[in-house]
Symmetry: C2
Subunit: 130 residues, 2 copies
């Protein structure tokens, strides 16, 4: 019963549903999810922990960044069915549509801003201050 409970709890929050929807198209960096949901990094981190614990997503570290993607075809049937349920029931959801548009903008940013800047890089002047 614990597997189902973990999945149900993971799906019982709007922010976590939005994360799953954002990952529908493919892998995303955590900082991109932070930019999309506009929540504190620590909050996103907690959501991702719960989603990982439920087996719904997987993480992959690459250098300084951590990427997330949905659990794939090798995941347990329950997980795959839960993800399918989310997709089907939210296919026409306005929040999903809005987030998809915003995500598109985020992904279109120039590479130099690698991850969507939480705050812009500090200037030389700022760096020299205490």
């Amino acid at each position: 019963m614990n597997a189902l409970l973990a999945i149900a709890k993971a799906l019982a929050d709007p922010s976590r549903l939005r994360i799953l929807l954002a990952l529908e198209a493919g892998e995303l960096c955590i900082c991109q999810l932070i930019a999309l949901l506009k929540l504190a990094p620590s909050t996103i981190s907690r959501h991702l922990f719960l989603l990982t614990h439920a087996g719904l997503i997987e993480r992959r570290q690459e250098g300084k960044w951590v990427y997330c993607r949905r659990a794939g075809a090798r995941a347990p049937r329950l997980v795959r069915e839960a993800l399918a349920l989310v997709d089907r029931s939210l296919r026409d959801d306005p929040i999903r549509t809005r987030d998809a548009a915003r995500l598109k903008k985020i992904l279109a940013r120039p590479v130099e801003e690698i991850c969507p800047p939480l705050k812009r890089a500090r200037t030389r002047k700022e760096r020299s201050l205490p």
Copy 2:
């Protein structure tokens, strides 16, 4: 997104999952659910409210008693799929097996105890006291 959220929240509690499993075989009186789960009537009532609000169960009043059953074939697809998910993922769950055995005993009780007695009927002596 609200429909899915309500369902996920409803499924995110062990007692409510046990109620859904108990209703797999068919309709049950609320007092039978109280006897099965051994929770306060007010607690069961709250659980049933959340399950009803999610559309997962329906209620039917018959005289003094209220009966519950799962949402049927006329329920939205999301509801039917969620119930199917619960059944499949908990088919071999030990809690489900144990509850099924206990429910069998409860249903086998003589009809005179109509609903499983929370407390036995008061004696004439008790009735005459303040």
